[in-house]
Structure formats: C-alpha cells, structure tokens
C-alpha cells in the first residue's frame, strides 16, 4: 500500500513538474494575448526558432554559452521588431481570426527560416543539468524526480513572479494592461503602442527561448518541439488566455492528469493516450467553463 502510494506520488510529482514545462510555453501565449488580445499561433515556432538559433550559435560558431544565450535573446527581439512592423501594424484593424491566421503564417516562416539556416537534424542541447533522478531526494523521500524537472519548475516560478510583478506594479505593466483593454483608447492618451507591442513580443520571444532550452535539453532540439508547443493550447484553455497564474495552474493540471491517466488508464487502451488526453480534457473544460479557470468572461453583443 505504501509502495503504491509512493508510486502514485512519484507519477503525480513527475507530471506536475513536466506540466511546468508546458506552462513555460503557455506563458509566451499569455503575454501576447494579455497585451494585444491577439492569439499568437507562432509561439511554438518561436520556441523552435529561438532554441535552434541558440544551439546554432553555440555549436556552429563555438560561441560560449552565456554569449550565445544573449545573442539568441537579441535575435528574438529582432524577430519581435519585424513581427510588429510587418505583420501586426498592417493588421491593426483586422478581425481576431485574420490576425490568428497571419500568425499561423508567421509560424511557418519562422520554422522554414530556422531549418534553412541551421539544418533539419536533431541537435543535442546540454545545459549541464542531467535528466536523471536527484540522488538526495531519491534517498530521503524515495521519490525519483529528475533534476531537469526541478530546474524547469524553479525557472518557471522565477519567470512567473517576475512577470506578475511587472504587470502589477510597473508603469510599463499598467500600459500593457491599458493596451489590452482598448488599444485605440490607450494610444489616444499617449501610450506608445509600437513600443508596447515590441516589448511584449520580445518578452514572449525570450520566454520562448527559455522554454525551448528546457524542452531541448530533454527531448533534443528538433522539429517536434513545434507539435509539443501545441499542447500549450489546452493548458491555456484550462487556465484562461489572459491569466499568468492560469498558465501555471493549467500547465500543472495538464501535466498531472496526462501522466496519471497514462500510467493508470493508458495500459487498457494500448497506451500513448497522452497524445489526445489534454485536448479532450480541454473540451470538457470548454463545455463547463469556456473562459478557463482564471480568464475573464467574454460577453458578446450583437
């Protein structure tokens, strides 16, 4: 009985920590949605693009780790700049769905550019943190938890707190919230829309880079990262599109439920139900709480 409970705990904790990895990707979506009410479908491609660039700088040009990270982050700022100038500004007054489709196109552009510049083969990314159980926890608590999972959890926590403080207590954060509420009104009282957009997209790019590093260290830097990022969508639905804590809670729920279902129910169906379980969970959430756990209720008028 104790062993079973321990095993369950292990599955649960592993799932929760894996969930923080989803949260990291979802965070990028939330940032952009919060500030511009546009859904950035290219976030997954941005994860792939940024981490591949990071690997490329490190492995092809032998640039040291920290400098490569800064360069990759700078590259994401450039991407943000170009996106604002060439995609968002011309689509300022377009409908939500139109912008969404344009970001799907943007995702394709980024994926293609990344592969054209750095090749299609899977790259290994070594962060110096092993993806194996931490001996200290294994000895004392008898739980096998990967060091990478714990790092991802810590990184996610730091980023969440940082972003939360930024949104809540700084002037920039106030500006971001104003733009999200009504872009027209915000710009008419002198909030620089251009700078806000640039800032948000750059921040989302850096978040994507961090998420990409975590995922890349676990699964290798490859095209499949784009599909993994799709799993951030159910996370957003559960947490709500405009809530930073929601992204975290949603990620934790998806991570935990997915792992527990896979371990306890999966064997009856031949396994691999992780592939669709998060989406079905999201459908159930949609039926009962379409705005997510922390989202704002959307009221539409004729």
């Amino acid at each position: 009985m104790v062993d079973e409970l321990l095993f369950f705990m292990e599955v649960l904790v592993g799932g929760l920590l894996a969930g923080t990895m989803y949260s990291l990707v979802a965070l990028g979506f939330v940032l952009i949605f919060k500030a511009s009410a546009t859904f950035n479908f290219s976030q997954g491609a941005m994860v792939f693009f940024s981490v591949l660039a990071f690997c490329g700088f490190m492995q092809d040009f032998n640039i040291p780790f920290v400098l490569a990270f800064i360069l990759a982050a700078f590259l994401m700022v450039v991407v943000g700049l170009c996106t604002e100038r060439f995609v968002l500004r011309p689509l300022m007054n377009a409908s939500e769905d139109t912008v969404l489709m344009a970001t799907i196109g943007l995702g394709y552009v980024l994926e293609g550019l990344a592969q054209a510049a750095w090749g299609v083969e899977v790259r290994r990314l070594d962060l110096g943190i092993g993806d194996f159980p931490v001996p200290w926890i294994a000895d004392n608590l008898k739980l096998f938890i990967s060091a990478l999972d714990i790092t991802a959890g810590l990184v996610a926590a730091v980023m969440i707190i940082g972003l939360f403080l930024l949104f809540k207590y700084t002037k920039i954060g106030l500006g971001l919230r104003a733009v999200a509420d009504d872009a027209g009104a915000a710009s008419s009282i002198g909030i620089p829309l251009k700078h806000i957009m640039l800032l948000v997209w750059s921040a989302a790019g850096v978040v994507a880079l961090v998420a990409g590093c975590m995922w890349g260290a676990r699964a290798g830097v490859q095209f499949a990262l784009v599909d993994l990022a799709l799993k951030a969508l159910p996370v957003l639905i559960i947490g709500g599109f405009s809530s930073i804590p929601g992204a975290i809670i949603g990620g934790l729920i998806i991570g935990a439920v997915e792992k527990v279902l896979e371990v306890y129910i999966g064997p009856f169906f031949g396994g691999a139900i992780e592939g669709w379980a998060p989406y079905v969970l999201a459908i159930f959430f949609l039926l009962y709480r379409p705005e997510g756990l922390f989202g704002e209720k959307i009221i539409r008028r004729v």
């Binding site: 995609v87 769905d97 799907i104 196109g105 552009v109 969508l233 949609l286 004729v302």
Partner: protein, 354 residues
C-alpha cells in the same frame, strides 16, 4: 442575369461545360505521361475535395476548425474496412458509407462549436485530429491486425470492372469530385448555405432571426466531415494506394487549412485554386532548384524555402486580400471587363438609360 436552367444562369452552364470538356476530353487526349495523373491531377482532385470540406465549415460557417486530416483518415480506414468486411456494398456504396462514418465523427467533434468559437474551437477540433489517428493506430481491428503499419489498399472495382490504371483512377476521382462539387455549390447557394453564412457573419443575430445554431453548425460539421471522409478515401485508394495513419497527421490538416485560406475563404473555386497552388508550387520550386542551380541547393533547404514562402504568402494575403486568390482572380476579371466592355454590357447599360 436570367436563370436558364433551374436557378443557373447561362454563364454557370458555360463554365460547367468548359470545365467538363477540359477535364474529360482535353486532359486525357493531351496528357499521356503517367506522372501527371499519379502525382498531380489525382492528389489535386482529392485535396480540392477535402478543401471544399474545410471551406464549408470554415469559409461558409466561419468555424475555425483544424481537423480535416483526422476526418480524412476516418474516411480512408472506413473505406478499407468496408471493402474488406462488407464486399457486397461495392465501391460507390463503400465510399458513401465511409463518408457518412466520417460525418458521424464530424458531428461528435463539432458539438463544442455550439459553446465556443475562434481559437477555442480550434483546440477542440485538434482533439479530433489526435484522437482519430490514435484510435486507428492503437486498435488492430481497424488495420485488420496488420503489423507492418502500412496496408496496401484494395484495387478499385466498380460493377465488376477494375479501375487500376492512372487514367481510370483519374476518372473515378473526377466523377466523385464533380458530383460533390456541384452538390456543394447548390448547398452554398440555397437556404442551407444562407444559414451557414448568417451564422458566420454574426451568430447571435442569426439565432435571433430564427436560424437554429445547433442545426446549422452541426450540419456544417457533418457535411464538411463527409467531404473530408470521401476525399480521404480517394486520397488513400487512388493516390497513396496504401493506408497508414501517419499520412494523415497534423501537417496535412495545416496544408488543407492553407489551401482553404490562400485559395479564398467562402468560395468553392478557391478550393481548387488553393489546392493547385499548394500542390504545384513545391514542384515548381524543385524544378527551379534542379534546372537553374543544378542541384547545388540541398533538398531540405528547398523545402524550408517553400515553407517560408507559404507562410509569407499567408501573411501577405491576410494583409492585402483576406479573401484569397479566388478574389484576386475576380478582381482581375473585373478590371478586364471595365477596360474592354463587352457587347452585352453596352447593351444592358444602354437599356438601363432608356
């Protein structure tokens, strides 16, 4: 213009006749290389059919769906099992029933559309994509317990006659596509289509005017999935000639979405234009790579460039012409007409003045 036959104008009938003559007489006489049939015309017709399915749900009803390939897989594997287990049904019967089975899935996964829209619905339809592929992959029955993973599709036999040459398969695809395209055009023009468009333009307004949202949306999803299912069956039996779940992955869904959007949302001819463009452009790019640069550019780079161009075009179209290539074509025609007014136009403008 006055309708000549039923509610069709003279122009519609001429268009239809031209298309039929082109596809039935001109293409088979002038194109003799098998490559054109097996790698371009057959997949073009199949994917155009699937794109019409996507058009119905996305272009006409305005529901952002991203699961076309899942329904195609459902149709393809239903077809395989029907021919295997119920041979009495015949090819055409199996095709219709497999379309209906796909439609069943369409209804099931279309239900969330009653509650949510936009990106939320997209996530719900993604569930269908992943679930259907997983189900086919994990339950051996669907694949007749074949362990290799790739099953050879049965030969097409209609009324005892085998249709196995590329030309014969082309005619099978052509016949199915023609019938279903005409049906789709009729639906789009009739009250069904008007309901769809009312829901697309403003669902709350449509509901308050007495259009049943439940009926309209579920109907659109069912019909869309039917088209995708039939297209998937044709795609597997005429083009791939094998069945494997991997062929219907999320990438194909995105491809069909691109065909739909670049071709022109809410148009039937846009489906054909978009499918042709997405299918032919890589061929053209490869030809340029081989002939101009003599293979100096790696194939993976060419496919990356192709991706960049598709994505870029998507952005450009969203900015300058959200209605896609079909609208572009319409604009060109309009410009041509205003430059050189034809005799009928002059006559009609004269009669208006008097």
């Amino acid at each position: 213009m006055k309708p000549v036959f039923m509610t069709y104008t003279k122009k519609d009938l001429i268009n239809l006749a031209v298309c039929m003559v082109l596809s039935v007489l001109v293409i088979p006489t002038f194109i003799t290389t098998e490559y054109w049939y097996t790698s371009i015309l057959i997949p073009w017709l199949c994917l155009a059919l699937a794109t019409i399915g996507q058009q119905i749900v996305m272009g006409y009803t305005g529901q952002l769906a991203l699961g076309a390939a899942g329904f195609m897989a459902a149709g393809a594997f239903a077809m395989f099992n029907l021919i295997l287990r119920v041979p009495d049904l015949g090819f055409v019967g199996s095709l219709i029933v497999s379309g209906l089975i796909a439609a069943g899935f369409g209804i099931l996964f279309g239900l969330p559309s009653l509650k949510v829209r936009g990106i939320y619905l997209m996530v719900a339809t993604l569930a269908s994509q992943f679930f259907i592929i997983w189900m086919i992959d994990k339950f051996g029955w669907f694949k007749n317990y074949d362990s290799s993973g790739i099953i050879t599709a049965q030969d097409i036999v209609i009324l005892g006659k085998p249709f196995t040459t590329p030309l014969a398969m082309y005619f099978v695809c052509l016949a199915v596509t023609t019938v279903l395209t005409l049906l789709a055009m009729n639906m789009a023009r009739g009250s069904t289509g008007r309901n769809w468009m009312a829901v697309r333009d403003m669902d709350i307004a449509a509901e308050s005017m007495g259009v049943s949202l439940l009926r309209t949306k579920v109907q659109a999803f069912a019909i869309s999935a039917f088209y995708c299912g039939v297209a998937g069956a044709l795609f597997a039996f005429c083009y791939l000639k094998s069945l494997e779940p991997v062929a219907f992955d999320i990438k194909l869904s995105f491809k069909i979405l691109f065909m739909c959007i670049l071709g022109g949302l809410g148009t039937i001819n846009g489906a054909f234009i978009g499918a042709a463009f997405i299918l032919l452009f890589p061929v053209l790019l490869n030809a340029i790579g081989n002939n101009v640069f003599h293979g100096a550019i790696d194939a993976t780079i060419i496919s990356s460039i192709e991706q960049v161009i598709f994505g870029g075009l998507m952005i450009i179209f969203m900015i300058y012409e959200p209605l896609g290539m079909a609208k572009l074509w319409e604009n060109i025609k309009q410009k041509w007409k205003t430059k050189i007014p034809s005799s009928t136009n002059i006559k009609s403008s004269l009669s208006k003045k008097t």
